[in-house]
C-alpha cells in the first residue's frame, strides 16, 4: 500500500533539475546521457544514508557513507526497469546488471550527494519513478582494489554469495551486514546508524504511528538493514538459511545451499579481522540474532505486549502477571510490567509512545551495560561505537582513572574510618583524603560507620575536633534539644500567646502529622503501627487499635522541634519561661513538604533523636533554600541546570526548547529532596553521603541531574516532543535509575564542565582574532557539521540540525519564530542589537555557572541578596 501511495504521487520535476534528476520521459534512454567524467551514468534505484564502515575500534575513524542499489545498464529483456516480481528467471538474468554498492559520503560530489539523498528519502517500496543517474560507483570486487577509498565497493549481485545480517540487539547497538562474495572474500561490515538515518527514522515513525508496531516483518525491531534485504528481494532470489538465520543466500544454486556451512565459517574469520571490536562474544549468550535473550523475549512476547497496548478491553491483570513472571523477559522489562502504573498504561494517552520510549531505553541500557564492561576491561574498545552525546568522551577521559579507582570504590568501613583518626580521636589524614574516599566509595551500610561519619560530613562536628570535644559538644546539644522540644510541648499544653499563633501551630502540627504518616512507610522502621495514637482528634487516631508507631512519633517531634528552632521568637511571647531559640538565623520557613523526606534517613541511621535532630539542622543549612516562600532557591537551581545543559549538551537543549521544556520542572522533585523519590532507600543514603562531601562541587547534585538527563537523552530526543511527555517519562524513571552509573557519569560531566570553563577563560584572556564560537564543543562535534554552510550537506548529514552550538541554535530558533506582523523597523534594529549583546554575554561564564566550581555550600543567606519578590497571591503560606 505504501508503494501505491508513492506511485500515485509522482514528484513534479524539480525546478532546479540537473543531470541527476531527469525524468524518464525527458531522458529517453540511457545512452543519450553521458557523465561529465565520460563514464556512463548508472541508475540509482535505492540508497540509504548513514551506513558506516568502522575501520578501527575508534569511533573517530568511522566513515559515513551510502549503501545503494544501482542498475548498470537497461535490462536487455524489458524496457521497464521495474522488476516483474513473479518472473524469477528474469531475475536471474538481471542479477549481473544490478550492483550493490557502498560509497563514502566524502567521495560524492554535491550533485551526486543530492541524488543519493533524494533517493534515500523516497517514500515507498519501489524504486523512484523518476530516474536518478549517478556516476557508476567504483567497480571493485573487494575493497582493497577500490580507487575511491579503501572501503568502497560495488558488486554485481551475481557475484554476491551471501549476506550476513546482524540486526541491532543486545550489545549490538548498530545493526550490520557483511557481504560475502562468490570469490570467497568478505567485504567490510557496514553498520547502520539508524538513529542518524533520516529515512529509517521516518519509516520507524510511520510504523509506530500507523500500527504502534515498531517491529519489522520478522518480528524483530525494524532497522535499516532490513531495507537492503528487501531491495535485493525485488531483483534476485534471496533465501534465508534455515540453519543459520542470520545468513541470507543470494541467488543460491543447489550447490550453494549444500556448501553453505563452509561459506559461513570463512565469513566468520574474515569478519573478525575487519571488526575486532565486534568479536567479543559474551560467554553466556553467544551473539547472533535469535540467540540473545532480549530479541528472543521480544519475539515471544511481542504480540502479547502489543495487545496489551492497543487492546484496552481484553487486557486482564492475569496477562500482565503472566508476562511479569516470564523468565525470558529481561528483568528491567519485567519490572516495568510489574509497575502498577504500567499495568494501566493501556489506558493512557499516547501510552504506546511512552512505552516504546521506555522499551528503547531498555535496549539501550543493555547495550550500554555491555559497553561499560568492555570499558572497564579493555580500554581500546572504548570508542568502538559512536554516540552523539559524546558519552565516550566522558568515559574516554575517565577511563584510565576509573580502572585505577576500582580499589577506591570500595565502601569505607568502620575499620578504615577509625584508621583515619589518632588515639585522641583527631583526624590524622587530610579532610580531602577522607572526602575523596567517601565520595567514590561511600560508607559501609552495615557496620555502623555512617553513624560515626555522617556528623562530620554534615559538619555537626568539626573535622579537627577530638573525641573528647565531640562528646562534650553533643552533650550540650542534647540538652538544647530537650529544651527546644519542651518549649513547644509547653505551648501545646498552656496554649500559645495569641489565637493566631495558636491556630498557626495547630495547622503546622497537622501538616507534619499528615506527611509523617506518608513518609517512607515501606521502610520496616516506619512501617508498623503498634501504639495507640496519642491525639484522639487526629484523623490517624483509631479508638479500637493502634494508629502509629514510636518512630513516626519521633519524626513528628523532631519536625516540631525544628519548627521551634527555626521560628523567630515573637515579641508578644508570654513571660512564661519558654526557651528562646539560640538559632542566630531563624528563617521562619514553617513546615514544608519534603522536610520529612530529608529527616527520615537521618533518624533511621542515628536512631537517636537528638543527634538526628542536629544533623537535620545541619542538613537544612544547605537545603533550606529549597523551602523558602519565594522559591528563589529552587528557581536558581532550575535556572542553573538550564545553563548547564545548554553548555554541556546544546543539541539536547534545543530539543527541550522546542518541547517547551526548558523550565526543567521535571527535575523539581529530584532537586527538592535530593533524589529521594528516584532512588531506592539504600542508594539514597549512598548518594547523600557523596553529595555531602562537596568533593568536586557543593552543587554536584546538579551534575547528577544532567547525568540522568544525558542517559536518557537519545530516547528523549527520538520519542518525546512535548512537556507532558517528558515530565511523565522523567517521573517514571523513579526506582529504575542505577546509582553507580549515574555517579560515574556525573563525575565525567563535571570534569568536562570544568574543562569547558577553563577553555572559555583561556580564550577570554587571549582572545582569538576571528572571534570563534565559545560554545563550540569539541572537534568531534564539528565533524558532523563540517559543511554547515552548504545546505545540501546539512540534509545529507541526516540530522538537519542547523547548528551544534547553543548560541547559534537559540538564535536560530528565535529567528524561526514568525515575526510579529506590525513590528517597527526601529524595534527590529534594537532586536538585532540585543542579539549582539546576547552573543557577547555568552562568551562570559555566568556567575551561576562559575559557582558550580565552588565547594562552598550555598545557603539561603547567600541567595537572599537577589530574592525575587514573592508573587502577589491570595494564598498565604
Amino acid at each position: 500500500m505504501t508503494s501505491q501511495q508513492a506511485s500515485s504521487k509522482p514528484d513534479p520535476p524539480s525546478p532546479s533539475a540537473s543531470f541527476y534528476d531527469l525524468s524518464d520521459d525527458e531522458e529517453g534512454g540511457y545512452n543519450t546521457i553521458t557523465h561529465t567524467s565520460t563514464t556512463r551514468g548508472v541508475k540509482l534505484l535505492y540508497s540509504k544514508s548513514k551506513v558506516y564502515v568502522h575501520p578501527t575500534p575508534s569511533a573517530k575513524d568511522n566513515i559515513p557513507g551510502f549503501i545503494a542499489l544501482v542498475q548498470q545498464k537497461p535490462a536487455p529483456l524489458s524496457p521497464d526497469d521495474r522488476p516483474n516480481s513473479s518472473d524469477s528467471s528474469g531475475k536471474r538474468t538481471n542479477a549481473a546488471s544490478y550492483l550493490l554498492a557502498w560509497v563514502p559520503e566524502a567521495s560524492l560530489a554535491q550533485d551526486e550527494l543530492s541524488a543519493y539523498v533524494k533517493v534515500d528519502l523516497k517514500d515507498g517500496e519501489s524504486p523512484p519513478k523518476q530516474t536518478y543517474l549517478v556516476p557508476p560507483p567504483p567497480v571493485a570486487t573487494s575493497f582493497e582494489e577500490s580507487p575511491v577509498g579503501p572501503y568502497s565497493f560495488s558488486l554485481p549481485l551475481s557475484s554476491i554469495y551471501s549476506i550476513h545480517v546482524r540486526p541491532p540487539s543486545l550489545g549490538w547497538w548498530y545493526g550490520s551486514i557483511v557481504v560475502n562474495t562468490r570469490a570467497g572474500s568478505s567485504l567490510p561490515a557496514l553498520f547502520f546508524h539508524d538513529s542518524e538515518c533520516e529515512s529509517t527514522i521516518l519509516q520507524k515513525k510511520k510504523r509506530a504511528r500507523e500500527s504502534f508496531d515498531p517491529f519489522g516483518e520478522s518480528g524483530e525491531l525494524f532497522w535499516g538493514g532490513d531495507e537492503v534485504i528487501r531491495w535485493l528481494k525485488r531483483y534476485v532470489m534471496v533465501e534465508r538459511s534455515t540453519a543459520e538465520p542470520s545468513i541470507y543466500l543470494i541467488d543460491p544454486s543447489e550447490e550453494d545451499r549444500l556448501g553453505f556451512g563452509q561459506g559461513r565459517k570463512s565469513l566468520e574469520g574474515k569478519h573478525q579481522t575487519v571488526n575486532p571490536d565486534m568479536k567479543k562474544p559474551n560467554q553466556k549468550n553467544p551473539p547472533g540474532p535469535g540467540m540473545d535473550p532480549l530479541t528472543k523475549a521480544l519475539k515471544e512476547t511481542r504480540w502479547k505486549i502489543l495487545e496489551q497496548l492497543s487492546k484496552v478491553t481484553t487486557f486482564t491483570r492475569r496477562t500482565a502477571e503472566d508476562l511479569a513472571n516470564n523468565k525470558n523477559i529481561p528483568p528491567q522489562v519485567r519490572r516495568l510490567i510489574q509497575n502498577p502504573e504500567i499495568q494501566t498504561l493501556q489506558d493512557e494517552f499516547d501510552s504506546a509512545k511512552l512505552y516504546l520510549a521506555r522499551w528503547a531505553m531498555t535496549i539501550a541500557e543493555q547495550s550500554e551495560r555491555e559497553k561499560r564492561q568492555r570499558i572497564w576491561t579493555a580500554r581500546d574498545a572504548l570508542d568502538s561505537e559512536e554516540t552523539s552525546v559524546g558519552d565516550f568522551e566522558i568515559l574516554d577521559m575517565e577511563a584510565g582513572k576509573m580502572t585505577l579507582a576500582d580499589s577506591k570504590r570500595r565502601p569505607v568501613n568502620l575499620e578504615e574510618w577509625e584508621s583515619f583518626f589518632d588515639s585522641k580521636g583527631r583526624l590524622q589524614v587530610t579532610v580531602d583524603e577522607v572526602k575523596e574516599r567517601i565520595f567514590h566509595g561511600g560508607l559501609d551500610p552495615e557496620d555502623g560507620v555512617r553513624k560515626e561519619a555522617w556528623p562530620f560530613l554534615l559538619e555537626v562536628y568539626g573535622w579537627d575536633s577530638t573525641e573528647e570535644e565531640r562528646h562534650a559538644y553533643m552533650n550540650s546539644k542534647r540538652d538544647e534539644y530537650v529544651q527546644l522540644k519542651g518549649a513547644w510541648w509547653d505551648r501545646m499544653i498552656e496554649g500559645a500567646a495569641t489565637p493566631e499563633q495558636e491556630e498557626w501551630w495547630k495547622e503546622q502540627k497537622s501538616r507534619i502529622e499528615k506527611d509523617v504518616h506518608r513518609t517512607d512507610r515501606h521502610i520496616p522502621l516506619f512501617a508498623g503501627e503498634d501504639i495507640p495514637h496519642p491525639d484522639p482528634s487526629s484523623p490517624f487516631y483509631s479508638p479500637d487499635g493502634p494508629g502509629t508507631n514510636v518512630h513516626l512519633e519521633q519524626l513528628k517531634d523532631m519536625l516540631l522541634t525544628y519548627l521551634e528552632y527555626d521560628t523567630p521568637p515573637s515579641p508578644t511571647t508570654s513571660s512564661a519561661p519558654h526557651y528562646q531559640t539560640r538559632n542566630p538565623h531563624p528563617q521562619n520557613l514553617g513546615y514544608v513538604q519534603g522536610m520529612s523526606d530529608l529527616l527520615s534517613p537521618l533518624y533511621a541511621v542515628f536512631q537517636d533523636d537528638a543527634v538526628a535532630f542536629w544533623a537535620f539542622v545541619a542538613f537544612m543549612r544547605r537545603m533550606s533554600r529549597n523551602f523558602v516562600r519565594s522559591q528563589v532557591g529552587m528557581r536558581a537551581q532550575l535556572s542553573t541546570l538550564d545553563q548547564l545543559v545548554q553548555i554541556l549538551d546544546p543539541k539536547l537543549y534545543v530539543h527541550l526548547q522546542a518541547a517547551d521544556s526548558t523550565n526543567f520542572f521535571f527535575f523539581f522533585r529530584m532537586l527538592l529532596v535530593w533524589y529521594k523519590r528516584e532512588f531506592e532507600w539504600s542508594d539514597t543514603l549512598r548518594l547523600w553521603e557523596s553529595l555531602w562531601t562537596d568533593y568536586y562541587s557543593s552543587q554536584f547534585h546538579l551534575f547528577i541531574a544532567v547525568a540522568i538527563l544525558e542517559k536518557h537523552r537519545d530516547v528523549i530526543m527520538d520519542h518525546l516532543r512535548h512537556f507532558d511527555e517528558i515530565l511523565k517519562y522523567i517521573n517514571e524513571l523513579s526506582g529504575t535509575i542505577e546509582l553507580q552509573e549515574i555517579l560515574f557519569r556525573a563525575e565525567g560531566l563535571f570534569r568536562r564542565f570544568e574543562k569547558t570553563i577553563e577553555a572559555v577563560d583561556r580564550k577570554n584572556t587571549f582572545p582569538e582574532p576571528s572571534g570563534g564560537e565559545l560554545r563550540q564543543r569539541r572537534p568531534a562535534d564539528d565533524a558532523d557539521g563540517k559543511n554547515q554552510d552548504s545546505s545540501t550537506s546539512a540534509i545529507a548529514t541526516g540530522t538537519g540540525n542547523p547548528s551544534s552550538t547553543a548560541a547559534g541554535s537559540s538564535s536560530t530558533l528565535r529567528q524561526g519564530l514568525p515575526a510579529r506582523p506590525r513590528q517597527a523597523p526601529a524595534q527590529q534594529a534594537q532586536k538585532g542589537k540585543a542579539k549582539e549583546v546576547e552573543k557577547r554575554a555568552e562568551q562570559v561564564v555566568t556567575p551561576e555557572l562559575r559557582l558550580l566550581l565552588s565547594r562552598k555550600i550555598i545557603t539561603f543567606d547567600d541567595e537572599e541578596a537577589d530574592v525575587a519578590k514573592p508573587r502577589a497571591s491570595g494564598l498565604k503560606d
Partner: protein, 205 residues
C-alpha cells in the same frame, strides 16, 4: 490535523495538601486506595480514556503538590486546562476556606479566555470519616458553589470509592464542553499562535 488524533482534555486538581487529591485520582484511574501514597512533590499526571456521549476522550489529570508555596513554580501546566477540580476535606474548615484562593490562583495562572464561564467542579472529600468529625456541612458547601456560578459539587470518599466515578464523569463532560467552546474561539485567535502550532507539528527532525 492535530498530531494527536484523540481529544485530550486537561484537568487540573487543586486544593490544600492532604485533602486527598492524589488518592481521588488514583481511585478513579487505578480503582484503588492506598494509605502509602507519598506526599506529592512537583507535579505528575495520570491519564484515562473515557467515553462522553459516544465520544472517546482522554482525560489528563494533573496532580500537584498541595502546599501553597510550591504553586508559583509549577504553573507551567495550568495553561490550556479544560477544567479545574477544587478539592477540600469536609473535616477541615481551613481546607474549605482556601477554596477561593485556589480558584483565584488558577484563574490568574491559567488565564482562560473567559474566566466567567470556565468550568470548576468542587469535591468535598473524606466523607467516610463520619458525621461527628465533619466541619463543613453539605448545605454550606452547596451554598458556596451556588454563589460561585453554580459549580457542580460532589461529596466523595477516595477511601470508600463513594461518588468518585460520578464526579469525574461530570468533570469529563464539562472539560469536553470547554474544549469545544475553545475550538470555536480558536478561529479568532491571533495568527502567531497558529504559526507556533504549525511549527510544533511540522518538525520532522
Amino acid at each position: 490535523m492535530s498530531p494527536r488524533k484523540k481529544v485530550l482534555l486537561k484537568v487540573i486538581i487543586l486544593g490544600d495538601s492532604g485533602v486527598g487529591k492524589t488518592s481521588l485520582m488514583n481511585q478513579y484511574v487505578n480503582k484503588k486506595f492506598s494509605t502509602s501514597y507519598k506526599a506529592t512533590i512537583g507535579a505528575d499526571f495520570l491519564t484515562k480514556e473515557v467515553t462522553v456521549d459516544d465520544r472517546i476522550v482522554t482525560l489528563q489529570l494533573w496532580d500537584t503538590a498541595g502546599q501553597e508555596r510550591f504553586q508559583s513554580l509549577g504553573v507551567a501546566f495550568y495553561r490550556g486546562a479544560d477544567c479545574c477540580v477544587l478539592v477540600y476535606d469536609v473535616n477541615s474548615a481551613k481546607s474549605f476556606e482556601t477554596l477561593d484562593s485556589w480558584r483565584d490562583e488558577f484563574l490568574i495562572q491559567a488565564s482562560p479566555r473567559d474566566p466567567e464561564s470556565f468550568p470548576f467542579v468542587v469535591l468535598g472529600n473524606k466523607i467516610d470519616l463520619g458525621e461527628e468529625r465533619r466541619m463543613i456541612s453539605q448545605k454550606r458547601a452547596l451554598a458556596y458553589c451556588q454563589q460561585r456560578g453554580q459549580m457542580p459539587y460532589f461529596e466523595t470518599s477516595a477511601k470508600e470509592s463513594i461518588n468518585v466515578e460520578q464526579a469525574f464523569e461530570v468533570i469529563a463532560r464539562n472539560a469536553l464542553a470547554q474544549e469545544e467552546s475553545e475550538e470555536y474561539g480558536g478561529d479568532f485567535s491571533d495568527p502567531i499562535n497558529i504559526n507556533l502550532d504549525q511549527e510544533r507539528d511540522g518538525c520532522a527532525c
